[in-house]
């Protein structure tokens, strides 16, 4: 279980990116996070990942307060192209974290190739990241996270550079992975349909500074299906609601508090 | 190092092989004559020669024991080292003393400088400042009623003196053989001061030196070396041809050049009175603070 308690972060330049965020995520849950640009979604994920030490509040993992980077974590960064190593081939990029898993070289390669195949990059293994298109690089970084088989997976707009078809495939892949392995997933997205389609919950953040504006439970039948799920009235309702919330989320925390009363 | 012969041999020498660091200068000719004429062999000594470029460079090697003797060691440098305590000097033999015209002050043929007096306020190139050259030249200038403090010494290595003079970077150069002949030939340069003239004629300038430690540990070897050296000096002094024969080999001087250059004197005795002249010059020139005790410095073979 992941508990985020009173999380507040202020950057060195004095800008408070998120304020007083509370959130509890059950093991195996997939939580979609949506919110306007600059509202603090990435900051929140970086705090959870232990990459920035929050100014206040804490992250509690399975009952123990986290200090630093949690075990068994994988992250798909928003700035995926910079998180790939240009001196390694695509396959080696994916295989590198697996060293932490104590796998043999052959096992690592195999796992890497499998993950690449699952994101549709079976042929790109021996290329270098800078020989790939933007969307392909993004998929490499998704493959890297999936191959690692984390227990907590943070994804920051992982499908932003992908075409509709590939995007749907990877949404389904994400759902499958969560179903198989009991992985806890936090997924930041700007696509409201997507947030509802893949999420067990949708958390809507408001801006200035970032705060939780709404936390909706998605009650859609499993397994989800790209066509039939999206036609369900509940899906349509939820998506409209999230859309409304996001559009109104540009207002500040104070305004939201007033609105909530 | 030359430790291979350190076990005393049949002839009672503490050390049979002696390593000598030698400069490529005419000064050290006697060493090579001695080797050629087997004078060292006659004393039961084997001499190993290590070529060096400057006598100061061999100083650490001498202290460390990598070489036993430095041939043609510049007295000014070594007396100073002795005074500062970096080395306890022991002189086994003299190497060279000044002779007239072996070291001269040259100017360009069209230079307005005609006499020593004209050098006042001028720039004179010397190889190393505050060393034997300025020391002796100052003495000569003083004897000629020229104020030495009015000349400016500029450091220029011997090989570059010709070019510096030709480019008018200096007004005069103080230069030794074989560069002396070379510049005279190439530029038609004119002598204004005889650098070996009075009052410095006969002043000893270099010797065969070791440390007092070496000399006291190896008295017999040192004595044997000294005997052979004195004979070699004698040979060098008496017959110019012998010097001309060896010089092209080790000093890279062409034979025809060797036959025309002015030779230094090769003193064939070790003599505190003569050495006193250079010491006195150094003290009066401010290069030494006190007069060293030459009796401990000059190696005396025990009878």
């Amino acid at each position: 279980m992941l508990e985020i308690q009173n999380l507040t972060h202020t950057y060195a330049d004095g800008h408070t990116a998120i304020k007083d965020i509370n959130l509890t995520v059950q093991d195996g849950q997939l939580v979609s996070i949506v919110g306007p640009s600059g509202c603090g979604k990435s900051t929140l994920l970086r705090c959870i990942a232990g990459l920035i030490r929050p100014a206040e509040g804490r992250i509690v993992l399975d009952g123990t307060p986290a200090d630093g980077v949690p075990d068994n974590l994988a992250v798909v960064f928003q700035d995926y192209s910079r998180s790939l190593f240009p001196w390694l081939t695509v396959r080696d990029n994916v295989a590198l974290p697996l060293k932490q898993r104590g796998m043999s070289k052959a096992q690592r390669r195999e796992a890497a190739m499998e993950a690449l195949e699952s994101v549709g990059l079976a042929d790109a293994g021996s290329k270098y990241p800078w020989q790939l298109s933007g969307g392909m690089q993004q998929r490499v970084s998704i493959a890297r996270a999936l191959a690692y088989r984390p227990s907590l997976l943070l994804m920051d707009e992982p499908f932003g550079s992908l075409d509709a078809q590939t995007r749907e495939d990877l949404e389904d892949l994400t759902l499958k992975v969560r179903g198989d392995g009991g992985m806890t997933i936090l997924l930041v997205t700007h696509d409201i349909d997507e947030s509802v389609y893949v999420g067990d919950r949708v958390v809507v953040l408001g801006a200035s500074p970032g705060h939780v504006r709404a936390d909706l439970t998605v009650d859609l039948p499993e397994p989800r299906d790209q066509i039939s799920t999206r036609e369900l009235p509940e899906f349509v309702r939820l998506r409209a609601e999230v859309g409304r919330l996001v559009r109104g989320a540009g207002e500040t925390a104070e305004q939201a508090a007033t609105a909530a009363t | 190092g030359g430790d291979d012969g350190s076990a005393s041999g049949g002839n009672g020498l503490e050390k049979q092989t002696i390593t000598v660091a030698a400069l490529p200068l005419v000064d050290g000719a006697a060493l090579h004559i001695g080797i050629k004429q087997k004078l060292f062999e006659a004393e039961g000594l084997k001499v190993q020669v290590k070529p060096i470029q400057q006598s100061t460079q061999a100083l650490p090697a001498l202290i460390k024991g990598d070489v036993d003797v430095i041939a043609g060691a510049n007295y000014v440098t070594f007396f100073q080292a002795h005074e500062k305590g970096t080395l306890k000097l022991s002189i086994l033999s003299e190497a060279a003393a000044l002779t007239p015209n072996m070291m001269n002050v040259l100017v360009k043929p069209d230079s307005p400088i005609k006499s020593a007096k004209d050098l006042e306020g001028k720039k004179i190139a010397v190889n190393i400042p505050n060393n034997i050259q300025s020391l002796t030249l100052n003495a000569i200038l003083k004897a000629n009623n020229v104020d030495p403090s009015k000349v400016q010494y500029i450091q220029v290595p011997f090989p570059q003196m010709g070019a510096a003079l030709e480019k008018d970077q200096v007004d005069a150069i103080h230069v030794v053989e074989p560069f002396l002949s070379d510049v005279q030939k190439k530029l038609g340069a004119r002598v204004v001061v005889n650098g070996g003239g009075e009052p410095v004629t006969g002043v000893p300038i270099s010797g065969y030196v070791t440390t007092q430690e070496f000399a006291s540990k190896n008295p017999k070897t040192s004595a044997a070396f000294q005997r052979a050296m004195l004979k070699a000096q004698e040979a060098a002094a008496s017959d110019r041809k012998k010097v001309e024969e060896v010089v092209p080999d080790y000093a890279r001087i062409e034979p025809q050049v060797a036959s025309v250059i002015t030779m230094p004197d090769f003193p064939s005795s070790v003599n505190t009175t003569r050495l006193q002249r250079i010491v006195d010059l150094m003290v009066s020139g401010g290069l030494l603070k006190d007069k060293p005790d030459l009796n401990t410095i000059v190696f005396q073979a025990k009878a």
Binding site: A49, G50, L51, V69, D71, N72, L73, A74, V75, F77, D79, S81, R82, S83, F85, P86, W87, L96, P97, Q100, Y128, P129, W130, Q131, L132, S133, G134, Q137, Y148 | A21, P24, K50, P51, I52, Q53, T56, Q57, A58, L59, P60, A61, I63, K64, D66, P157, P159, Q160, G162, A163, E166, K167, P178, F179, D182, K186, L187, A251, R252, I253, V257
Partner: protein, 246 residues
């Protein structure tokens, strides 16, 4: 290159000074080529190159790990800065007599001085290279649970590597200068520098001095070409990325 040759040929022929003081390039180069057939000279070259190779190798072995340490642990950097900055401007070659006293006058001294002088460019380029590493890469491995040392070796080192290589190229030339320079100044033993020093002390030696210099320059050129080639091969990702597009 040809322009340099022509310029120096002209300079030599212009006779600003007597030709033997500065011989024209053609005669210097002829002499340099002649030397290639001289076995003693080749032996000297081999001696110099041995000292160069050992010295540079040791400098790399010392400077890269030290640079990684100083560049990644600011506390150590601050603590040692006074020593480092105090030592750097000390002209090692000018202290040859003293170095000779401690280390003898043979290859050890040459190597020690080479290591001393050529450590700095590698050390500094390593440190500055580390400072420039994109934090995104480091964060990535941190997230996957890698420790500081592993991040240093797997991210920081490879991304700083091209700049470290430039440091090594700088050091290679410095090491060569030191090898030859030490020989010239110590005037003792064997090597290219000794050849030059010997020529230096006789009249008409300029031609040999410059022929030796041409050899030193040529060695530098060859070494740099080899290092440049190795650099291009090892860091092809760097160059392809700079030239290519994504």
């Amino acid at each position: 290159m040809a322009a340099l040759f022509a310029a120096s040929e002209l300079l030599g022929r212009a006779e600003i000074v007597d030709r033997s003081y500065l011989p024209p390039a053609s005669s210097v180069v002829t002499r340099a080529i002649e030397l290639a057939g001289d076995t003693l000279f080749l032996q000297y070259l081999a001696d110099t190159m041995t000292a160069w190779a050992v010295g540079l190798g040791l400098a790399i072995a010392v400077a890269v790990p030290l640079g990684l340490l100083l560049g990644s642990v600011p506390a150590v950097n601050a603590a040692t800065r006074a020593i480092v900055e105090f030592l750097r401007p000390i002209p090692s070659v000018a202290l040859i007599p003293l170095a000779g006293l401690l280390l003898g006058s043979g290859t050890e001294m040459k190597v020690a001085l080479i290591v001393y002088a050529s450590t700095w460019p590698i050390l500094f380029n390593t440190m500055y290279g580390l400072a420039e590493v994109d934090p995104a890469g480091k964060d990535t491995l941190r997230v996957f649970g890698f420790g500081r040392l592993e991040i240093l070796l797997r991210v920081s080192l490879p991304s700083a590597a091209p700049f470290i290589a430039t440091g090594i190229r700088l050091a290679a030339a410095i090491a060569l200068i030191l090898a030859v320079g030490t020989e010239i100044i110590s005037g003792f033993g064997e090597g290219l520098g000794i050849f030059i020093a010997q020529a230096y002390s006789v009249p008409d030696g300029a031609r040999d001095v410059l022929a030796g210099t041409v050899w030193a320059g040529t060695l530098g050129l060859v070494i740099d070409a080899a290092l440049g080639g190795a650099q291009r091969r090892m860091f092809h990702w760097h160059h392809a990325r700079q030239g290519g597009t994504t």
